[in-house]
Symmetry: C2
Subunit: 132 residues, 2 copies
């Protein structure tokens, strides 16, 4: 499939990669779980496998969410925004979305100039990562 | 307030601006309304005024959401993600968030290689913009 034919617009360049923003939202609770980027291949793999793939701007590579933690994201719906430079994926999250063990990566609220933890911890990162 | 002191990390550079990703979610319905970027000043103005301000990567300027449409976003909570390079703002939206007249900018679903409209139209853009 030609993603541009569907109207998608990879106009945001970060570190020389052409990307769309990808917001992941829990399909049932509607909680926003994370936001990241996808390049064409990451979005194509997401469409083909129905498992969320992202482009890591720090590691400069495609990343299958859950590949090391087992916390995969099963994609139920893919929505596209008006500018066609962002997607909203509605997903079912295994375990938690956040590598720090929380349901959502947005587990802290900015209050004054402090970050206050408001999220639910659902797993212990040490038990999930670095098992070797 | 020094935003970096709060842990914020403007590491994503788009068109030479250092930015955080900003996802806007309806405070009550939890619908994701839009996603855009903020530079330091846009985030600071958002914090100070409790009205969402963004950095427009196409117009290369700060933009008070609602300045031309009247569809302001009143900010109730600001959440920060684990990497500290994205914020989730929970808002009350006047009118609709999308300049095309929909409640949410994510008003279309990718089905096969087509975009199908699934969102609610809440205003007529012609009646809101370009009134001069």
């Amino acid at each position: 499939m030609d993603l541009e034919e569907s109207g998608l617009n990879f106009r945001h360049k970060v570190g020389n990669q052409e990307l769309v923003i990808a917001v992941a939202q829990d399909y049932k609770t509607l909680e926003v779980l994370m936001v990241a980027f996808m390049n064409r291949e990451a979005l194509q793999r997401t469409i083909d496998t129905r498992k969320a793939h992202y482009w890591s701007t720090s590691r400069q590579k495609i990343w299958l969410k859950g590949e090391s933690s087992g916390n995969f994201q099963e994609v139920k719906e893919i929505l596209v925004d008006c500018d066609e430079d962002a997607v909203l994926i509605k997903i079912t999250q295994t375990g938690g979305a956040c590598h720090e063990g929380y349901e959502s990566c947005f587990f802290r609220e900015l209050k004054g100039n402090k970050l206050e933890i408001i999220g639910n911890k659902v797993f212990e990162p040490d038990e999930v990562y670095n098992k070797d």
